[in-house]
Point group: C2
Chain length 239, copies 2
């Protein structure tokens, strides 16, 4: 059933075409409309609940793509790759590729909020996935166009592991196995040489140091420490 505003209906149909789907597809247009409505436009009828569903959908699609394409990949790498695939940065990038900002209804000061744009676009992208999932109760409207993106990204990440987000991967690992978060302790070298990596980060879990790393920024040092810890944990024997 199409929605009551012919202009919005035509707009949504044009998005569905961009996704490579036929407009006669069993899309629930009211849900797609909701998925592209920011909370500033309506406090009660907006994309938040669909984003919640879509967040689970995007995690499932990334898990299946990894499962189908990398049967020999250690599950720790699955987690690390997925943390990139489902990151706001990647979801917002795909959102922009399909021009979602043209379809997203936003009101008030939020329209001028450039800083919030990335998370807004990522949220709307997830909400669109939620709407498409709930249109058919399966992934038939999603995988034909989302799989190729994820396959290519996963290949790129595996070729260039620097793109792994080790902090996110380590956190997911320690939470899954120990129900706690790793703790970072950073010190700054007091008299750094020019160009020196002047931050040293340690990552600790349960009063045990897991790894140490250096970097030019706190963030870089923490990522370096997380990488050491992540590999140490994932090459250990299972308890």
């Amino acid at each position: 059933m199409s929605i009551a505003y012919p202009r919005r209906q035509r707009q949504l149909e044009s998005l569905v075409k961009k996704l490579g789907l036929p407009v006669v597809a069993p899309v629930k247009w009211q849900l797609l409309d909701l998925a592209l409505t920011h909370p500033t436009v309506s406090e009660s009828a907006n994309y938040e609940q669909l984003e919640f569903v879509g967040d689970a959908v995007v995690r499932l699609v990334s898990a299946i793509v990894l499962w189908e394409n990398y049967p020999d990949c250690p599950v720790g790498d699955f987690a690390a790759i997925r943390s990139v695939l489902v990151s706001d940065r990647i979801l917002a990038k795909m959102s922009r590729e399909y021009g979602l900002e043209l379809y997203l209804l936003v009101a008030g000061s939020a329209t001028a909020d450039q800083v919030g744009e990335e998370s807004r676009l990522a949220d709307a992208f997830e909400a669109v996935l939620g709407a498409l999932y709930l249109s058919t109760n399966d992934l038939q409207l999603i995988r034909p166009w989302l799989d190729p993106h994820f396959k290519q990204l996963a290949t790129e990440i595996r070729l260039d592991p620097a793109r792994f987000n080790y902090k996110a991967a380590l956190q997911e690992w320690t939470q899954a196995h120990f129900k706690v978060l790793p703790e970072y302790r950073v010190v700054e070298i007091s008299q750094p040489q020019h160009n020196q990596e002047r931050f040293i980060a340690e990552v600790w879990l349960h009063e045990q140091k897991l790894g140490e790393g250096k970097g030019r920024s706190i963030k870089a040092a923490e990522q370096a420490a997380a990488k050491v810890a992540f590999f140490a944990l994932n090459t250990q024997e299972k308890p």
Copy 2:
């Protein structure tokens, strides 16, 4: 296609019957066998990858059940309820209800590891969900028996919000909105009275105190602080 060991095949068929599914269901038996094989039995052919898929499946089912049954529930409550539904405690409980420990192949010292049993059962439960999902590429083998569990649990949690895991919910919220984790600072009252709640926890985000709570244990005090913070954040206007 059934698996090569008739005894194991009969065992798996008996589990499928317990789930209320017909044995002629399109179950991929090899996957179900893998889902019930602990890493101690085989380093390469075990439930780890299926658990990774199943983790996403269980999140999706819980999101859909909440979406379908509580259309007026704030999305913050969705997150709080889901963090209970997908917790090891609940998944292990359901695992036991279906007697999964009878089907799970475990080797070596892990069999005697009582402490690890809960997470082992939760992991195997997720892996079974992964195997059932991948058998049909949709939720048709899962929702008929999992939905009623989740509906009942969600109802119980909404009636008794003390069952919310506010620390988990708060963490999910701050990560989704600010990409950081809340920080807890706990002090112990130096000369506690008998029966007094002798720990005071504060929860901070971005150098701002979000809430404070007391408890007889550090954990209880942190949960109390998280609850205050969680409600404060979820009743605020969206930025």
